[in-house]
Amino acid sequence: MKDRVTRRLLGMASFIGIFISLYTVFRAPLDKNLGIVQKIFYIHFPVAIVPYFAFFVVFVCSILYLKTRDRKWDKIAYASAEIGLVIDTALLVTGTIFNKPTWGVWWVWEPRITTSLIMWLLYAGYLMLHFSVGDIERRPRLTAVFGIVAFISVPISFMSIRWWRTAHPLIFTPAKIALGEALDMQMWIPTLIFLASMTLFYVYLLGQRVNMINLQEEIQDLKDEIGG
């Protein structure tokens, strides 16, 4: 009961947070060079971080599952992969639509976008693997191993714009930060608020999704009990 209240509050907090941050985004000063387009960054950056974080959670929980054999970690890993995939989908869709006005084409085979797509494919594979292992005893182990393997795409995608010179804007480079050029304070605040509320949103989704798996199992148990 208490869990449920916490999860509701979390959900509410993340929604309010997102609204506040949207508001601050529109209140923030216009960029001198880029104009309104630059506002994308406030939203794009926090949303882009969450899938990386979600897949990192999959990686860590997969290792923890193999070490401890506690089903809890398997559930969290699965839920996190699904949420990461949904947010990554949203990100790819925005990116695709947004490419049109900036680069004039819908899709650019640019390292960051391409590696994000590969990441998407890998975790879609992760979910497919989850559904195609019939043996419930074996499933957590197999998906955990793949969760570890698939994580290779995350650092590659994250570092891609640093390794290859690309058209993708790179905000945080040591040189820019040293010059204080990365972002000025007024732009930092909305970004950080947005990042915090996206993280809350992720935690809320994770809680609900794990709860859903638990409910499904409980129902299955009761059905077995009645059936037997």
Binding site: I40, I83, L222
Partner: protein, 45 residues
């Protein structure tokens, strides 16, 4: 501008649908669970 709006509309729509799916499914599962618990109680008594 229209691209800007379309992009954000699409992204939020996807996230909203996902939240909607989870909340809806949880409500259905909660109902099923309560129903089953009652059935079990009835069978035991």
């Amino acid at each position: 501008m229209s691209y800007f709006e379309a992009a954000y509309f699409a992204a939020w729509l996807i996230l909203f649908l996902y939240v909607f799916y989870i909340e809806r499914k949880l409500a259905v599962l909660g109902r099923d669970l309560n129903h089953l618990k009652e059935v079990v109680k009835r069978e035991k008594s």
